[in-house]
Amino acid sequence: MENFWSRYKRNHAAVFGLFVVALIIVMAITASFLYPEDPFRLVGKPLSKPLTNGFLLGSDSLGRDVASGIVHGAKTSLLIGFVATLVSVFIGIFFGAFAGYFGGLIDDILMRVTEIFQTIPSFIFAILLVAIMKPSMSSIVIAIAVVSWPGVARLVRGEFLAVKNREFVQACHTLGMSDLRIMLWEILPNCLSPIIVVGSLMVATAILIESGLAFLGLGDPNIMSWGFLIGAGRTMLRSAWWVCTFPGVAILITVLAINLIGEGLNDALNPRLKERQ
């Protein structure tokens, strides 16, 4: 563990990314203390510029506080990002592990299914799913998970294929261990590093997809999110630039920071890859 941290620390950008994400998480948690008001409430003069009329980052066309929207929206974005990633990683591990471990017909069937999902453009597929299910927090999470698990499945399958023929797995067979136990306790722990790295990057993608959906008006209408803010301000981009710009910058910074963390995790968990360069 100590070793892990010392390797992670070597990548300064990754430490910075971790710091930024921590800051955003703190912001999300303390949202209701910073801005106790409902972010949807009309609290002042519409289209106020930043730093006027008591608005730090200005207000939108209905007089809603953009800063409050960003702080509350952070919660939505992060929550959806993490939950959707968790769900898709689980689906991906399930498919990938069975396909890689058993091979043969099971592998063929599971991988053909995976390929069907991979051939559909993911964002359009996500729009379709949300449109069918009615926009809500859970339907968005499901949509993002459904479009992003195939990558994980492919990765896990590859890892399982590589590890399942290692001698320690054969040793487990000779001890009479069951397949499920071998998969969960022997092989999976050896595949965790790349899964964690990919997972961390998927959080960023999930946040982007969620923002995209909200921008198109397919977000949960009762929950403030960054994509919603951008969607609401897009018609006035030239007259009231701040409504779109600040939530956009928030997304940019968050996604960038998460990507930096992913890079750092990659360096720390797969040190040999780094040395090879």
């Binding site: 053909r112 001698e167 320690f168 054969q170 001890l175 009479g176 050896n190």
Partner: protein, 543 residues
Amino acid sequence: MTKKLLSINDLSILLPTGADRQYAVQDIDLELNAGETVCVVGESGSGKSLTARAVMGLLPAPHVRVGKGEIIFGGEDLTKVTYERLRELRGSEISMIFQEPMTALNPVMTIGDQIDEIFRYHVSMSPKERAEKALSLLVDVNLPDPEKIIDAYPHELSGGQRQRSMIAMALALGPKILIADEPTTALDVTTQAQILELINDMQKRLDTGVLFITHDFGVVADIADRVIVMQHGKIVETGTTKQVLQSPKHPYTKSLIAAIPRLKPRKARSRAAEVVLKTEGVCKSFGGGKSFFGFGKPNREVKAVQNVQIELRRGETLGVVGESGSGKSTLARCVIRLIDSDEGQIKLGDVDITKLSRSDLRPYRKRIQMVFQDPFASLNPRIRVGDIISQGPILQGEDKEDASKRAYELLDIVGLDRRSFDRFPHEFSGGQRQRIGIARALSLKPDILVADEPVSALDVSIQAQILELLDDIREQMDLSMLFITHDLRVAAQVCDYVAVMQYGKIVEMGPTAKLFKDPKDAYTKSLLAAVPGKDWHFGKLKP
């Protein structure tokens, strides 16, 4: 007086700070004359390869670099010359062959192109001349059908052919010095013998000085004029081959030589009547399958094991020897039911286990256990040693406390500290890991131990310890052992009975002493003739 080609004086190579020692190589002195073969011998980590690389200027700089000393070649100090000069020398004056010819050759270029490259960079010749020269080189190294091989890619050749091509390349410009870094370690014995002979021939013809890095004293006995023994980066002994092999002075050399398994077969013990394992007509082939939708050509079918009959009696060790691809490992995996055989019967005592389902098989699992080849791949890096050893009994329904107690006892038996219980595999050396693997195999108190090349990944001194341990355990626990190996010397040392495999078939089987003394089959004879250092084992050495 012979011509001195290379002299290394007082050379030290620095390791990066934080390594386990400051110098990879310390205060080395070495001389190489024309037409002479100097063998540098040592176990892994002794610095023998880095010494060779330093001569070529191939140290992994900037982490590892020359600290002090000089390498004099033709009046120049190679540690000081410019990079351009070094490049001129490499290939033309000094060249090198490596252990693994597959990775040393460029996989996307034909052999001919790779030889051609050498001429293009070092001498000016017309393309036609170059092509002719390349072809004649391939003829020189006795490659069959050189016209075809010149247009072949490395993956289309066998290991021996690749190494021959490497040698052709290395000798293309008639270098004064050839550095060979374990060039035969990855090859089968019969191929190894051919390659050694080839190097010897070429050397005589071109009067090359050969610096030969190896860990195998058998190879040393066959080819060396002088020997340098290295340990922990220092030279501990030098001398002529005869001096070093017959009357070693340094205790390390003595222990190394004592650890080498001899080709002298062990005394046969009386055979027990009880047959613990018997196979009848076991067959296994790979490939021949089709893709998901049945498109395309079926894969080529390989018959890995064909109609194999073996019989293992209580308390004896049956060796299965053969070269790579002979099917010996497949046979072992069939016997232990890691893979299912296509035909035939495998009987544990009276029970035929070939057709048992996985759950029916479970009670029989504990009677037959396996020790694997690669000590680094055979232990799960994420699981503690104690759990690795005790999980077998727990799976078989023993309670946790008894299993841990047994694991502690097993650590004693295999000669490991009891504190190892809570540590992870990466904290152990190769030999210690192999001991852990043996402890795991013993945890279920098996009757039969299948050992698949258990010592081939280990240094000789460690190898001797592990073989001794296996022998002790067999005695103590009245085990029967199926011992897979490619090394006839190891087989001679541990096996009561030996079966020789070739192309999936057993070509000859018999008591070790009898089979080694009086082999009937031509293949067995060629295997025995190819064992490196056999003259030495039988007390004869080249003068």
